[in-house]
Symmetry: C2
Subunit: 696 residues, 2 copies
């Protein structure tokens, strides 16, 4: 684990290089923020033109700043930064935050400057945050190297943002809502330190209970996944990714100057490493807030305690849409509620105590609900009523949920009259949401994460019986080719143990007939030609040939007809294949993602993959369980698992092919794309009927 | 149009019956609210035990209240209400709001009381709002018969809520956000006045620019659709429906004591009548706020003006996910921007002016974007920066967007430092959202509504060439049956002009062979038996019979085999059908919804309808265009329209069958369910191959 980042959050001394004495400068704002939130270390403004700023002694250069000094924050024009960085290195500083922009994000010249500072940093074994960022803050050490106005309350959320603006906007939004942060880091261009580095630091940081992340792009996807797989069994990661759509990805690219990559790969990576993907900025903090202080639900059965039916109905919809159920209360619970609540109250779940419900009734109902063994989580709804004090209700909720055995979320529907209640609830670690749909979404995310935690450890599937050398030889021979035809993909797949329909090449009618006899009838013929990729378009496939004479005739007809239609094509013979039995056809594919590497695809075969887009993705390497998950994530999974009472197909055979194809992709980076289309799946076993490989 | 409801919003005088002098009573709260917001009419508390309350003269009973008096608000225990209502009737009051609960929502006894007050009201031609509601308010007349603390700003949203709690929560939430309301009505049990009545009133009410509705159930679905179809071409209706899921519907039922019905019917009804369906409470007001004051977009091309790239990327995603595009700016626009903005700014769309952007730059960029002919709408993003004053940016936006040719929405990402800006923007009719995902969703809804407005008028498809009498006779004969077999559905479908595969009943091997000769080979045989619904399960279907002898043999074998397996089944003969040509199979069905009547279903045939749930719904009657829409809403629509360059199938033939089936359902309410499964569709024409009808 990476501990070297502590200096960015809790250094013993900080120099602000370029600190201005002019109050409307950003660097002045940073210096002021350094003084405002209880930071106990040395604060050293560096500015040759001032003696002191904000009552702090000013230094002419970094060399003259005395110890202790762990961190330098640079706010200077970009061209001045290399020399300053050199000076920092000489001074022995190993942690630097570069706030200034003017680097990669402004084009090639800036990119060159960015390479230069990275080279300097590496020479001095310095770690860099930025450039082009808004700095870091730590609510426990009091460090604040940002110029954002105000800070959040102290709490358990560690927030990492690639966008300083998103970070600033969020702080502005939550600062009066008592949503507690442990720390915040804005990473800008990530010239050195990336989101993954900070995730690793925060995973060990004591005050951080949940890691919230906003990213526009993850450069080293494999490293991110490895880190996340280590962290998420202990600490949740909630992440919002910009650039889910083509338009969003283009916006990210034009803004960051980097390629965003496909969201299918991101989504797969998040699923495979237990990262909770947020859909919106508010979603990110709605979920993080709950994970920071509430226990995880042990199941999906929720009790609703409310003083109004409408919001409870909206919450019920949201729970159902997020995989949760309305708990069936025990008769014991219902009779206890009946004995105490308004006689007209609903004691079935939702427990609707009606508009007149007072704080003691809330207390009693929540107590009963949490004690019910059929209840895994509770949501308390309060709609402001003229005669009920929300703060008192909040106190009762805090009191009852003190033991923290089961998660308790609340919806106090309003703003004006529930401000104080929110402060009390949030300070006590109980999330309060304004609208009733939110707790449903949040509990859904908590449940998903709880299930992830229960999963066994990650262990990538391993095969021994594949012939790497044979595969290397075939690919070596394919040297300059762009694509491999079936005659080449067959032995390649065979080398990795992927089951193929029985087949054999033949170069004359007689050879074909002989091959057919050996394979067994009926057979199919497929043309072998480096110039024909889509064989069926040119009459290059003949099916269901039943005897040697049919095979001979078909061979001759095929050769003549193609020679007529494509006189320039090189015809090297045919592939004779035994016709496979009936079965369910699926597709297994791979394309190489720029950030994550081999991205494996599974989907239903035929016209339906295109019509319904019924596909799922995973990043290789993957476990047997992940391979099975990716099948079940599609509708095709239902079809294979014994739809409408049919006997199920051989899922394990499909899993096997997925894993072997993944291994092949991992072993040979020169393979850009692969596809087995179709893989025909039987009640026992599966056979690849056709394959296609594109080299990079 | 219904104008009788004016007394509920702008009466000349109001009596509060049961007004208490005790400040912690709800009825006191109502009286106080009546005095707080500028209401100019008479306010008459009725309470025999007080002389005056809040300085207002108190009357011992309703009879003694002088004119003018248009509205009575009753806040008394339920049992006292019938007598009071009688007195109101005698006094000549024609508009009454009953705040009190204790009616249908508490069980059968309350339901009886509710029937009683409805009877009294109808005797006096009185209109009722409630019971069990929180009353009405009108920001222009100053009327406020609720006990909610505070009111929203004046504005253009008319809000109708079946739940008083949701209404109260919303007011509490928005009151300091400067989201303007014209009026609000909470309808409670809807004993008399329903959401549809108030929609009709608000459609003509001058201050109401958009009608926002929260409903838990719509009892008279057909009337609602008719009203909405009249209103939405002029005024938008945005609606949130609780009970979308099974769990939500059960919560609604237990809370309202009524059946919620299926959400498929609601969703279809909203689509067919131009109602914008909101997904959450915040969605309801996010959308309504924009529709109240902004013009509709003429197309889907959006310009983004921002001072930060991250939020612009998030907005880009949201735009793409909601059917909008990032506008391609003209070179003219880009060069103008280049000339004026920071040299490092992005002048392609999103227009990213970078963190230092000042109010004049916002003004210039927005001006340029709105002037670009490639732009249909603009979203302005501001992330608070230490040195930029959000209020000044707001002023510039207000100034530039004054002409209101194209919609302008804003996202000021924060809370603490953007409060004043929000007030200014909202007071000027420019929506400000906190998070960048929201304007994408809102513009999507605006675009959908704009397209609805451009549609031609509603005109249900009409057929003349169907034989209602013949159909009536068949159904009459089917009297006590629960289900109709194919022998009965065939003539019924024929009577309504639904094309059927050629077929004929036969009662002996010879008759069957003779029928086959007449129909043409190959043919299929299907057993006719009132005791066998699923023919294929018992060997009751034989396909592809090619000559008379095959037909005779198949007939005999079928009869013997079924007689052996089901000795008690009555076997009435077989249906001989010509085998239909190959084609694409679809399903057309109907079931009767308790609130909306005939709900028509279209979907892809075979295993895929169940696997993918690829179906769409519409409420009958429907237009040709709606029938076509429902096909295109499914993936099957793509398959029929000429997928992958294939020749398209005959969509109009499918439309025709949908409309004829709808007509049959409308004409004969005793048909509970119908299904044509499959309808085989050809390049020209379509044929029903099998049908099933269930009677109620």
């Amino acid at each position: 684990m990476q501990h070297g980042l502590k200096s960015f959050f809790a250094p013993r001394g900080v120099a602000i290089i370029g600190a201005s004495a002019t109050p409307n400068k950003l660097s002045y704002g940073i210096l002021r923020n350094m003084t405002l939130y209880g930071y106990q270390g040395q604060i050293a403004p560096v500015n040759p033109k001032a003696d002191q700023i904000l009552g702090l002694k000013c230094y002419p250069d970094i060399t003259s700043v005395p110890d202790p000094l762990d961190l330098a924050v640079i706010v200077l024009p970009a061209p001045a930064i290399p020399a300053t960085l050199e000076a920092c290195g000489q001074r022995g500083i190993r942690a630097v935050i570069i706030i200034s922009g003017g680097f990669k994000e402004v084009g090639e010249q800036g990119a060159a400057l960015e390479r230069q500072i990275l080279e300097i940093a590496s020479r001095y074994q310095m770690r860099l945050i930025g450039p082009n960022c808004v700095g870091t803050l730590d609510l426990y050490s009091g460090l604040n190297t940002t110029f954002i106005q105000g800070v959040p309350e102290r709490g358990g959320i560690g927030f990492i943002s690639q966008s300083g603006a998103v970070g600033g906007g969020v702080v502005d939004y939550i600062r009066d809502k008592f949503i507690g942060f442990a720390n915040f880091a804005s990473l800008g261009n990530e010239a050195d330190i990336t989101e993954t580095d900070v995730i690793e630091y925060l995973s060990e940081e004591e005050h951080t209970r949940v890691i919230a992340v906003y990213v526009e792009m993850i450069r080293d996807g494999q490293r991110f996944m490895q880190a996340a797989r280590r962290v998420t069994p202990q600490k949740p990661i909630v992440l919002l990714k910009a650039g889910r759509t083509g338009a969003g990805a283009r916006a990210v690219s034009s803004h960051t100057g980097s390629l965003a990559g496909s969201h299918a790969a991101y989504r797969a990576a998040f699923q495979q490493s237990g990262v909770i993907e947020a859909q919106t900025v508010s979603d990110l903090f709605d979920i993080s807030m709950a994970l920071a202080h509430q226990p995880l639900p042990q199941g999906n059965r929720v009790a609703i305690i409310t003083n109004a039916g409408g919001p409870a109905a909206l919450l019920s919809d949201s729970l159902a849409e997020n995989g949760l159920q309305i708990a069936d209360l025990e008769e014991h619970t219902r009779s206890a509620l009946r004995g105490r609540l308004n006689p007209a109250a609903q004691v079935a779940n939702p427990i609707d105590m009606l508009g007149g419900a007072e704080p003691p009734e809330y207390e009693f109902a929540l107590q009963q609900a949490l004690a019910d063994p059929n209840v895994d989580a509770a949501v308390v709804i309060l709609v402001p009523q003229a005669l009920v004090n929300p703060l008192e209700v909040a106190e009762k909720i805090i009191h009852v949920s003190g033991s923290r055995q089961k998660p308790v979320l609340t919806c106090f529907m309003g703003e004006w009259s529930v401000q104080q209640a929110r402060q009390r609830l949030h300070s006590s670690g109980i999330p309060m949401y304004v609208f009733p749909e939110i707790p449903g979404r949040v509990l859904g995310a908590m449940l998903q994460y709880a299930r992830w935690r229960q999963q066994s450890e990650f262990e990538a599937a391993q095969f021994n019986e594949f012939d790497r050398a044979a595969a290397a030889q075939i690919l070596g021979q394919a040297g300059g080719q762009e694509a491999l035809g079936e005659a080449q993909t067959r032995p390649l797949f065979e080398a990795y143990g992927i089951p193929l329909v029985a087949g054999q090449a033949a170069h004359s009618p007689e050879e074909a007939a002989e091959a057919a006899r050996r394979l067994g009838f009926p057979v199919a013929l497929k043309i072998i030609s480096p110039d024909i990729l889509h064989k069926s378009d040119f009459g290059g496939i003949r099916l269901n040939l039943n005897d040697p004479q049919e095979v001979r005739t078909a061979y001759q007809e095929m050769m003549e007809s193609i020679a007529n239609r494509l006189p320039q094509a090189r015809l090297e013979g045919v592939l004779v294949e035994r016709m496979a039995d009936k079965g369910q056809e699926v597709i297994i594919g791979m394309r190489r993602d720029p950030n994550f590497g081999p991205l494996i695809m599974f989907g239903l075969g035929g016209v339906y993959v295109e019509l319904f887009g019924d596909v799922s993705f995973r990043v290789a390497p993957l476990t047997r369980r992940e391979a099975l998950d990716m099948i079940h994530q599609t509708h095709a999974g239902k079809l294979l698992s014994g739809f409408r009472g049919e006997e199920p197909y051989d899922l394990q055979a499909v899993v096997d092919v997925i894993l072997r194809l993944s291994q092949l992709a991992l072993d040979f980076p020169q393979i850009a794309e692969m596809e087995i289309n179709p893989l025909r799946v039987f009640r026992q076993g599966a056979l690849a009927l056709d394959g296609r490989i594109i080299l990079s």
